[in-house]
């Protein structure tokens, strides 16, 4: 729903109180032990978006992704039948990392150490002097991981037997995600940066608008207006562990002349590509993915924890349309540079937040009603961590 009015009223705090009103404990935002629990209870137990299908355009295509928080390297291939497969990027002989390149195309993967060679389906095809081993080749295939796609995005799961499939995990939101640019993207632009801060602090920065007018007084000027100076969303949605907001449609945005020209170039390209120009939805897919439905700046942001106090953001702007006309390239460059400006402005304040919390000065932090998505994330995270803790205490197998 998009509200176009100059008498904007933010979602009432009474309507959001069901998510909680109490202060939130500060320790989980910097405690190394809590982070270790998050890795086990959340990141090893959730579907994680790591790539897009356009990165594996044909049979033999492969990519490698590193998930530092779990010390895991993942090899994703597209096999002869066009199916995606995901494996631990580890030779089954003595554990050597199999593929060093980040992406490419090949039918076989040979370990540099002793030349054990695997197919794109993970099957051990050959191994020198194999007769001297005490095993069968069929027991030496690469260790497979669950992989699936939603809206063109590739998700993997570090648990070989996930409790639920990706479709069930995403739920009804999948239908909305499938309407976005990302679902039919053929290319993307990408930039990355690391922040000396906990992943939740990093993530939270991008799910509240309370800070926009202070941290983005220039780049975010068009986001707020007289009737909505903070640029609060017009709607919040809660979908199991996931959440959405609908970005307020400013009826009279403060736009500079060249900015308007560049935006208009993007609009022309988007209309030509048949994109939904009305979409203003912003998706927070648990645990660490954002997607903006905006057609001109259709970005995703994946926030990967590296350690308790270090996080990597990977931002992508997904594109459709296969011509390479000048106006398209210009619009793509301007859109990327615009998003990059905003992300760069957030970096310092996220780090300052982590330093402040890490000092131990605060036992709790406060969320106002328009920071409800931050509170929702914490609730979802902490529920999983507490369940995992309880299961550990009881010596049971964790069932998240």
């Amino acid at each position: 729903m998009t509200i176009q009015t100059d008498t904007f009223q933010p979602v009432a705090k009474e309507d959001l109180a069901f998510v909680g009103t109490e202060p939130v404990p500060a320790l989980p935002y910097y405690d190394p032990h809590y982070f270790d629990l998050e890795v086990e209870a959340i990141f090893r137990k959730s579907w994680l978006q790591v790539a897009h299908v356009c990165e594996l355009p044909e049979a033999g295509s492969f990519i490698v992704r590193e998930l530092e928080f779990a010390h895991v390297s993942i090899l994703i291939t597209r096999n002869r039948n066009g199916d995606l497969r995901a494996f631990h990027n580890v030779c089954t002989h003595r554990g050597t990392q199999l593929v060093q390149e980040r992406a490419g195309k090949r039918a076989l993967f040979s370990c540099p150490y002793h030349k054990w060679t695997f197919s794109g389906d993970g099957e051990l095809m050959s191994a020198p002097d194999f007769e001297r081993f005490y095993i069968d080749k069929s027991d030496c295939n690469l260790v497979e991981l669950p992989v699936d796609t939603c809206a063109g995005m590739i998700f993997v799961h570090l648990d070989p037997e996930p409790q639920m499939g990706l479709a069930e995990f995403i739920g009804p939101l999948a239908e909305r995600l499938n309407t976005l640019t990302v679902a039919r993207a053929t290319s993307f632009s990408e930039y990355t940066y690391e922040v000396a801060a906990n992943w939740k602090l990093t993530y939270d920065n991008f799910q509240e608008n309370y800070h926009l007018r202070f941290i983005h007084p220039r780049s975010g000027e068009a986001a707020g207006g007289e009737s909505n100076p903070f640029g609060y969303p017009s709607h919040y949605g809660f979908h199991g562990p996931h959440r959405t907001q609908t970005i307020w449609s400013n009826p009279d945005p403060a736009v500079k002349p060249f900015q308007l020209f560049a935006f208009a170039e993007g609009v022309k390209v988007s209309i030509k590509d048949g994109l939904d120009m009305s979409n203003r939805d912003y998706f927070g897919i648990f645990p660490n993915l954002f997607l903006l439905g905006n057609a001109v700046t259709p970005f995703s942001q994946c926030i990967y924890p590296i350690s308790v106090d270090r996080t990597r953001s990977v931002i992508r702007l997904y594109w459709v349309g296969d011509d390479d006309k000048a106006s398209r390239r210009f619009a793509q460059e301007y859109a990327m540079a615009t998003a990059l400006d905003i992300h760069s402005e957030d970096r310092a304040v996220i780090e300052a937040g982590h330093r402040g919390l890490r000092s131990g000065a605060l036992r709790h932090i406060q969320f106002q009603s328009q920071e409800v998505l931050c509170r929702h994330l914490f609730n979802e995270v902490d529920a999983r961590v507490q369940r995992y803790r309880a299961a550990q205490r009881e010596g049971k197998q964790h069932e998240c």
Partner: protein
């Protein structure tokens, strides 16, 4: 002896910006922005902002694979302008403050790079 134009006819006024702002990759365009002076950015933006629509319209008539060397230079100037416009028109006096954080960001892939 005549000196060959670096840019297509009609865009000669941008010739003096070619050495600094004709840059082939997005990651390098960002770095050029971050390493430039306010004066350099303002000069380029003032000279290019009103010419860019005509440049894109002219370049749109053919795919980039058919560009002449001069047209490729003009395209790269337009792409650099995308960065510099944000620095001058949006960030203005805050650009140096902004650049202090932007230097930590790495463009790793760009659809505009051909």
């Amino acid at each position: 002896m005549s000196v060959e134009s670096q840019l297509p006819a009609g865009f000669e006024s941008l010739e003096r910006f070619v050495p600094q702002w004709c840059i082939g990759r997005s990651c390098d365009r960002l770095q050029a922005r971050l390493n430039s002076t306010a004066r350099e950015r303002a000069d380029f933006f003032a000279a290019a902002k009103d010419i860019a629509p005509a440049a894109l319209e002219m370049l749109d008539r053919k795919p980039s694979s058919d560009y002449t060397v001069q047209e490729t230079r003009l395209m790269n100037l337009c792409l650099a302008l995308a960065h510099i416009a944000l620095a001058v028109e949006i960030q203005g006096p805050d650009e140096d403050h902004h650049a202090a954080s932007a230097k930590y960001i790495a463009i790793t892939r760009s659809a505009a790079d051909r």
